[in-house]
């Protein structure tokens, strides 16, 4: 069986390092195997650009298994492309048709500055973690963790939030560039577990204030983040974040 190939027209955002402005440039991606991932397709385009002596398209990537959270771009106006619960590295070219034009843009947010082309600085997400997204005391090894009984339902709810890979798609998809799903996931993950409870109030208070300081917008319950999250994290996490803040501020 021969592999199917398609040819595409790419409109990619190009912006040099340190440049304030960028522009779209059009590239042809020819004979792309439909078994390739989106990033492998960009690799092919970059090889051709390098051969021609042009600067290759810069994009973030690492594991290419959909678990590290490094990759991500807006593909035809959708974060990580149109496939549900998929990172850009796991978006395969079989989901595109021959002759299609694809617009590729970096995440856009006041908090995420464009470093180069499709690479944005997502360190504000790290700064949010530094504001309280951790447990201060050493919780020990696996046997120590098991010393405290946790209902399976609670452990699963915490895990559903802990699957966040910090890719920033929620911010990119949010019409307000808010990081509420990210903060909601971190606060949920830690507040649901007994080891995270002692610092739960202080954590939510500092993280939510830091979110605004870093230039992220406010949540208006558009639920676009939930629809684009490659890990399928629900806005139930945001509702829990809201409850945790109310508890911390008023109780």
């Amino acid at each position: 069986m021969t592999a199917k190939t398609i040819s595409l027209t790419l409109k990619v955002w190009r912006q040099g390092r340190g440049e304030k402005k960028g522009c779209f440039k059009t590239y042809a991606a020819r004979n792309i195997s439909t078994d390739m991932s989106f990033l492998e397709m960009l690799d092919v385009v970059n090889e051709e650009l390098t051969k021609k002596g042009e600067e290759p398209i810069a994009f973030d990537h690492d594991c290419r298994e959909g678990i590290c959270g490094m990759c991500g771009a807006m593909v035809n106006g959708r974060a990580h492309g149109h496939q549900k619960e998929t990172t850009l590295c796991q978006l395969h070219m079989r989901h595109f048709s021959d002759g299609e034009t694809i617009v590729v843009e970096p995440w856009r947010a006041r908090a995420f500055k464009v470093v180069k082309d499709l690479v944005v600085d997502r360190s504000p997400l790290d700064q949010l973690i530094q504001a309280g997204g951790y447990i201060s005391v050493n919780t020990g090894g696996a046997p120590d963790g098991n010393a405290i009984p946790i209902p399976k339902k609670t452990a699963e709810a915490a895990f559903e939030a802990a699957v966040c890979i910090g890719c920033g798609a929620c911010v990119a998809a949010c019409p307000n560039a808010s990081a509420m799903l990210f903060v909601g996931a971190k606060v949920s993950h830690l507040a649901l577990l007994p080891q995270g409870r002692p610092e739960a109030a202080r954590r939510v208070q500092t993280m939510i204030r830091r979110m605004t300081e870093l230039g992220f917008g406010n949540c208006s319950n558009e639920a676009e983040c939930e629809a684009e999250c490659p890990k399928g994290i629900s806005i139930v996490a945001i509702a829990r974040l809201n409850r945790e803040l109310m508890k911390a501020e008023f109780l």
């Binding site: 959708r78 843009e105 006041r110 917008g217 208006s220 558009e222 939930e226 974040l241």
Partner: protein, 213 residues
């Protein structure tokens, strides 16, 4: 009290202000609709309702100042959120498609809100801030609904309220932390039902006045 204002100035605090005042307006809309249903009973029933309502005296004053207070909070916080949220993405996308979360209601909240605010001013000028002695309130109603341009403005406002409530209703529960897969679909359904009820209940009044009464 500093902690109190500080808490409400956070990103979630501002949402809470919108949610609580929004809940107040939903309750007001429901009461207002129930009261206005007396229009369908004819002039006698409607005038009797208005007379009984005004006989409540100080309770009405409390409700009016309460609603005004809520309106000031809802509009000013909404405006602040609108400005902050626009500033959070200075460079927009060349192509942006909805992923499925956005609804017509959620995408238009600031704009439907502005339409509602303008209509409330018109509505108060027509019914609250005029001398009602020369004619009955029912006559004021029929006179207004005999003007086609007013019917259009009224209908546009009713549609704006329905669209606003379609997102606002479930959204306020989400903000107050009331979201669980067990009952969120019910709350969302209630929101759609409530907005349809508002649209139908208020929207049918000019039709009734013009063609049936």
């Amino acid at each position: 009290m500093n902690w109190f204002f500080e808490a409400f100035s956070t990103a979630i605090g501002k949402k809470l202000l919108m949610a609580v005042t929004g809940l107040g307006f939903c309750l007001f809309l429901l009461i207002h609709l129930i009261g206005n249903l007396t229009v369908y009973g004819g002039p006698g029933v409607f005038i009797s309702y208005v007379t009984h309502l005004h006989a409540l005296g100080p309770l009405i004053a409390v409700a009016e100042y309460g609603l005004l207070f809520f309106a000031v909070i809802h509009v000013s916080t909404g405006l602040l959120l609108f400005i902050q949220n626009r500033r959070a993405r200075p460079i927009g996308y060349a192509v942006k498609r909805n992923a499925g979360g956005r609804t017509i209601g959620s995408a238009t909240m600031p704009y439907t809100g502005l339409i509602i605010l303008c209509f409330i001013v018109i509505h108060l000028l027509n019914f609250k801030l005029i001398d009602q002695t020369p004619q009955t309130v029912f006559n004021t109603l029929t006179n207004l609904f005999s003007v086609l341009s007013y019917i259009l403005v009224y209908t546009a406002a009713v549609i704006a309220v329905a669209i606003h409530v379609r997102h606002g209703f479930w959204s306020l529960f989400q903000t107050l932390g009331v979201n669980h897969p067990k009952y969120m679909p019910f709350i969302q359904g209630m929101g759609i039902m409530f907005s349809l009820l508002i649209a139908g209940g208020f929207g049918f009044i000019p039709v009734y006045i013009g063609f049936i009464a």
